[in-house]
Amino acid sequence: MTATQDRPAAEIGKDRRRKEDQRLITGRTRWTDNITLPGMLHLAMVRSPFAHATITSVDTEAAKASKNVVTVLSGKDFGEELGVCINAWPITPDQKTPGHSPMPADRVAFAGEIVAVVVARSAAAARDAAELVDVEYDELPAVVGIKKALEDEVLAHPDLGTNKSALWVFDSQDAGTGGEVEAAIEEARNGGIVIEREYRQQRLIPAFMEPRSVVVDPTGEQLTMWSATQIPHILRFALAATTGVPESKIRVIAPDVGGGFGGKLQATPEEWIAWAVARRLMKPVKYTETRSESLMAAHHGRDQVQTLTLAADKDGKVTALRVHLDADLGAYVAIVGGGVPVLGAFMFNAIYKFPAYRFECQTVLTNTTFTDAYRGAGRPEATYAIERLMDELAAEVGVDPLEIRERNWITHEEFPFTTVAGLEYDTGNYEAATAKAKESFGYDELRREQAERRERGDRVQLGIGVSTFTEMCGLAPSRVLGSLDYGAGGWENASVRMTPLGKVEVVTGASAHGQGHETAFSQIVADRLGVPFEDVEVLHGDTQVAPKGLDTYGSRSLVVGGEALVKAVDKVIDKAKVLAAHLLEANADDLEYSGGRFTVRGTDQGMGIQELSTATFAGHDYPDGMELSLDADATYDPVNFNYPHGTHLCAMEVDTETGAVKMRKYTCCDDIGTIINPLIVAGQVHGGLVQGIAQALWEEAVHDESGTLVSGSFVDYLLPTAADTISFDVVHTDEPSICTTNSLGTKGVGEAGTIASTPAVVNAVVDAVRHLGVNDIQMPCTPERVWRAIHAHDGDAPTPQAAMPHFEEGALNQDEGAGQ
């Protein structure tokens, strides 16, 4: 910025209570399902019970005759105006991408796919009539599970001829970022260490608390869609691109949105159907899903089989990593579907200096709910694999898991560091984070207790798990996305508007759904512009209010959107300076800007930004050539990702009699650069931790062989409660590694907890029982799985397939049915 700012930061770093909370704690909320419009009609979806079937007929007569029903429509009733559900990231030029109609007329490809929609005067009448729609199907064989899909015997989409969608490869030798993997592995087989494992990333369900809901109002000049979405801007783009309505005629609003975690980063069949029905009937319509529908038909996440080979010398210095992923896309390639595992490609090498690296990802289609981003998206899977492997390497070498990491990690003097995956990490200090975490955790004391319990043969054993993670976030430099064939950029936009009475309206293209943007962005503006925190109003989530933006995901809002905001504020100050110089009758070069006020150096003359705003509104006195506005907007395209990191330590107690596990302590020391609001950061970390812990211990979306979702309600898809979790020990390094690629020095934190915690927990569970001959337990680590692993050798717990990993002998470290 041109004006100097020497006032100490008052707002950044302060634990401001959130502006958002007043309405949320009093129930004065605007969830999409709260919206009621005159003449509004309600939709109910008729969904296929079969995972794969030909639709032979749809008889809607009885439903149409049902009380208060307006109409019933099936796929054949629509033409091109229905549009399509898009895949924005074809990961290879030859990717096999099945056409994805919001409501297919001929064939369904997963259980829960929509085959008809009932439109009625009330939600109850719509539901009643939906039961009367008579759909006849010819059931087709369904392919469920990655390993079955790879066989290509049963096809998810017979016309494609294969279930294999795309193979994406990165090889450090080809890229010039490292050596040859195969040679290093061969070398390690002779005198070194080779760790070979197959890990399973089970399928998860984002399970945001607010079920998805969409309202479409076709009255008025612009067609308006309210949706419980993370991505209003991308939705508007996709609606225009696929349904023939010009962008200028589309307004998309994400009002209060109750969580997303990637699960509301989608262009959904339900939104497209509501859009088409409203346009057809020219009446406002609303569709709100039930939780069961949400679990069945909103996209799922994770679902990979990871085949891993880690080579090291005998001291545990890693020489190569080879990764092969098979990733389940489900029935369609969703909006970012195939790209999610590819986002992990750059993270398997994590914080380590690996000389050689190869990554392959094979995506496959199955007759199951389509998968896409879920908190962390690709990076949790990568972090899990490498952090589990590093623990296995430590066990092999016979040293502490932290010691093996230290032998391999990038030291703080080595930054900036270009990794074997080709990323440039700007800053970091793994030593400092680890030291701080160890101290706060009481690492040595817990290790002593662990040894004592082992010695005594206690029924309850203690394990300590380590996860020293980093991640790439702040999606994303647009040119990098282009090089990866992603269909859009990664920039963000912000504008700052000065109101006549001196308030500040901040418009951001990021679209919050619980992150606290209104508070954090107000803090940034309050400091930068020198106005009171209370005078800043943050506007977002409406394409007519915030016309430009790329929304909220990938821990990007602060690091990308915040930087756009900084640039917009600086432009406002520059513009105001011209007016201030004129009104103060001073030379602009003699002006200083501090605390929201221009002063003439060496005098007591000055003028506040808010006074200047009023003066601009009046327009009575301003210099020739000045545009009569202080408002400014800015678009920022990041130059790099950013790389938060941290050391997470977890202590788990394992009841060896029942296999039950219980968390004893969890400490994390995250280094995320500058912290704008420590309260919000802690909240993001806590929530992220529990989602990651839940993957380790509780959650799994399970389809049976016919493709029916078995875990189709909250009775079976197990979210933890307050009674299942503990209070966390969250600390930060004393001197954070400031990000060098944005002005505020911030790094993303939204996904960090989720990325780091899963391996910390599983490492702890395995560590508790490693002395009993266990070196892996498949996620989620259910009591039954833990118990069977412990007793696999003593005959107490017969298990169909031993829980032993090395797949050289053909026995995988999987339960029966794994990879299905």
Binding site: I25, D256, G259, R291, H686, G688
Partner: protein, 161 residues
């Protein structure tokens, strides 16, 4: 249709309702009390928690007709928000950052109020167990538990001063 008369957030209301209408639907659709929300269909999530005659219930698990002649309090009636008042538990949730997206929050607050009415000085474990019928996906519960404990401290501090 069945006629019901009841008190909701201090006001007498009367309506003809279908017997199948759930209390939560009655609150949202007939009374516009959209502060109370629906998060699941199996009574696991607790987002719809309200007070029926002073104790917490899941309003998806009560028929509107069952509330005839009774008293319902929702998040919107906990304190006079129009007068700028907050219930101490609401205040605590803000103070301790006990919410993020806010969708589970009305249910969490209503359950926390009930919990503290029954046990004004709970331990952390008692809070965790007492909130087991409410799911949150954002906070990891850490700050929700802290909020409830904070409210208990504030209330007892207020009572002794």
């Amino acid at each position: 249709m069945t006629k019901i008369e009841l008190t909701v957030d201090g006001a007498s209301v009367s309506d003809d309702v279908e017997p199948r209408m759930l209390l939560v639907q009655y609150l949202r659709e007939k009374l516009g009390k959209t502060g109370t929300v629906i998060g699941c269909d199996t009574s696991n999530c607790g987002a719809c928690t309200v007070h029926l005659d002073g104790t917490s219930v899941k309003s998806c698990n009560v028929l509107a007709v069952q509330t005839n002649g009774r008293t319902v309090t929702t998040i919107e009636g906990l304190a006079d928000a129009a007068e700028g008042e907050l219930h101490p538990v609401q205040e605590s949730f803000r103070e301790c950052h006990g919410l993020q997206c806010g969708f589970c929050t009305p249910g969490m607050i209503m359950q926390a109020v009930d919990l503290l009415a029954e046990n004004p000085h709970p331990s952390e474990e008692e809070v965790r167990l007492g909130m087991e019928g409410n799911l949150c996906r954002c906070t990891g519960y850490h700050n929700i538990v802290k909020s409830v404990l904070h409210a208990a401290e504030q209330t007892s501090a207020g009572a002794t001063s």
